[in-house]
């Protein structure tokens, strides 16, 4: 559905609707056609025991990867060795990197911001680890260590960057000083995730999906701010087009309004029907469903104290008991 929606955005030139500039749109079109590698993404799903609904798609910079891939797997192996888990993330990551051995050149770079917290470094280091296990030579960089020599992006020691994984939002990259150099250097550097992921990490993908596939059981009704049909939603969630970590998300229900404040970037909102998320002892679990190389690879569960999942949510490991074949 998302790929069809991406084609729809490109075919109908809906970039302005998503707050994406014409220059970025051009790069997205080119990237979409050349099909550079994409490694991962995470769908956030609500599950009420019977129905699964897509809350959003974290296509560009999802985190909570190590917890889902490794930590909960070790927990399962150590505590419930006879149970199983929806989890092949680690193996699929290595398999994808192996597939890209020839594509990525002699050295694969990984970049994120540096700082006092561990999550970004841990996510990038983990991904680099899987790349090493696939046979890549890797090097980690800080985003600010990425240079531009007038023609191409380079490392601090002036080595050209052929392939780089970045844990840094595309909408930030295109707006920064080197954003204007992305077009010139588009043939010399492959960015992972690719820039076409901007279409999917944008919450505007939700109303577009709803318009295209509104009879699909996985989707919640969703509308752009100027769509009169949003008035049909009695209870809804308002999300900024380019929101992250639950910022600026507000819930409007029969029992009242709630939400998380944040800086308004002026790019507008979408309105989405509220999914039923069951409460367990004051906690609301959301399923993060990982997609590696375009295929479902496992899940991780995060629990929050409210229906808005934010960066204080708790990761909860899961297991299932495999069906036992009936004896003959």
């Amino acid at each position: 559905m998302c790929l069809a929606a991406g084609q729809h955005i490109i075919g109908h030139n809906l970039f302005e609707r998503l707050g994406i500039s014409a220059i970025s749109a051009k790069l997205i079109r080119e990237s979409w056609e050349s099909e550079p590698p994409s490694i991962y993404g995470r769908f956030d799903l609500a599950f009420d025991g019977s129905q699964v609904k897509i809350l959003e798609y974290n296509a560009d910079t999802p985190t909570c990867l190590l917890e889902a891939s490794v930590v909960q797997w070790n927990w399962l192996r150590d505590n419930f060795p006879h149970a199983d888990q929806f989890n092949s993330i680690h193996d699929r990551l290595i398999a994808k990197w192996k597939e890209l051995l020839q594509y990525c050149g002699s050295r694969l770079y990984f970049a994120c911001l540096r700082g006092p917290t561990t999550e970004d470094v841990m996510t990038v280091t983990y991904l680099a680890d899987t790349a090493v296990q696939a046979g890549h030579e890797v090097r980690l960089l800080e985003m600010k260590q990425i240079g531009h020599d007038g023609r191409r992006f380079v490392t601090p020691d002036n080595q050209p960057i052929r392939s780089i994984f970045k844990l840094y939002p595309w909408e930030w990259m295109v707006g920064e000083e080197f954003g204007s150099r992305l077009e010139q250097a588009r043939l010399s550097t492959d960015w992972i995730e690719p820039i076409w992921k901007m279409m999917f990490s944008n919450k505007g993908i939700l109303p577009i999906l709803w318009n295209m596939f509104q009879y699909d059981d996985l989707l919640l009704p969703a509308f752009f701010e100027d769509d009169y049909r949003k008035e049909s939603l009695t209870e809804y969630c308002r999300k900024p087009l380019l929101g992250r970590e639950g910022k600026n998300v507000s819930l409007h229900t029969a029992t009242g309004d709630s939400g998380r404040d944040g800086e308004n970037d002026g790019r507008g909102y979408i309105y989405q029907a509220i999914a039923a998320i069951p409460e367990f002892n004051g906690r609301f679990p959301v399923i993060g469903s990982w997609v590696i190389d375009g295929e479902s690879a496992g899940i991780g569960i995060r629990e929050s104290a409210s229906q808005i999942t934010d960066n204080t949510s708790r990761f909860v490991p899961h297991l299932f008991i495999p069906n036992v074949e009936p004896s003959a």
Binding site: N74, K144, Q145, D157, E177
Partner: protein, 189 residues
């Protein structure tokens, strides 16, 4: 689902030890201002130099650079919200020490990703990416000021550390590092 029985983590396994500060192998050194808001290391470096020059008592009025100082250990917090937001320099450090713990090497938080520090010969421009994180000033999820070791840039690292089979868990302010079959270490960071 079918997957490897054991998940090997070479680079991250090594990094986890440094990140959690387990084994007392290191303490994290973070530059903060008077409100314990994380700042660029250069501020503290400059402050150290100037404080040394001005010796004991700060002149009046107290210059802005006087407030920059190092904190050793502690935990970072941020009140922003879920998904991903790169951390910037607006996280606040709680706790920690004003002076380094004796006999424990200090590592700078800002060197979490530290390979390739050499600046080029001036033909290339740098710093054109990465500004947004600081401007927005949001921190990541949970964790402490940290540093990962310099990461090797050669192939075959996994082989050297193939016995590293670590998992790490953050629960209620505790980092738990565990191995294949046993809990290796619990450390309050």
């Amino acid at each position: 689902m079918k997957k490897s029985a054991i998940v090997d983590l070479a680079i991250l396994g090594a990094a986890a030890i440094a990140i959690t500060g387990c084994d007392n192998k290191a303490q994290v050194q973070t530059c903060v201002d008077q409100n314990n808001v994380v700042q660029d290391d250069r501020n503290c470096e400059q402050s150290d130099q100037l404080k040394a020059q001005y010796a004991q008592i700060p002149p009046r009025p107290v210059p802005y650079w006087w407030y920059y100082h190092w904190v050793y250990g502690g935990t970072s917090r941020d009140d922003h919200g879920g998904g991903y937001v790169p951390y910037g320099h607006s996280a606040i450090i709680d706790g920690g020490r004003m002076s380094p713990e004796p006999d424990v090497p200090a590592m700078r938080a800002s060197q979490a990703i530290s390979s390739g520090e050499t600046i080029s010969d001036g033909h290339a421009a740098f710093g054109g990416f990465g500004a947004a994180g600081e401007a927005v000033g949001e921190a990541g999820v949970l964790g402490v000021a940290s540093e990962a070791p310099n990461l090797p840039t050669t192939r075959g690292v996994a082989t050297h550390h193939s016995e590293s089979r670590l998992g790490i868990f953050y629960v209620g302010g505790w980092f738990i590092v565990f191995g294949r079959r046993q809990l290796l270490r619990i450390h309050r960071c």
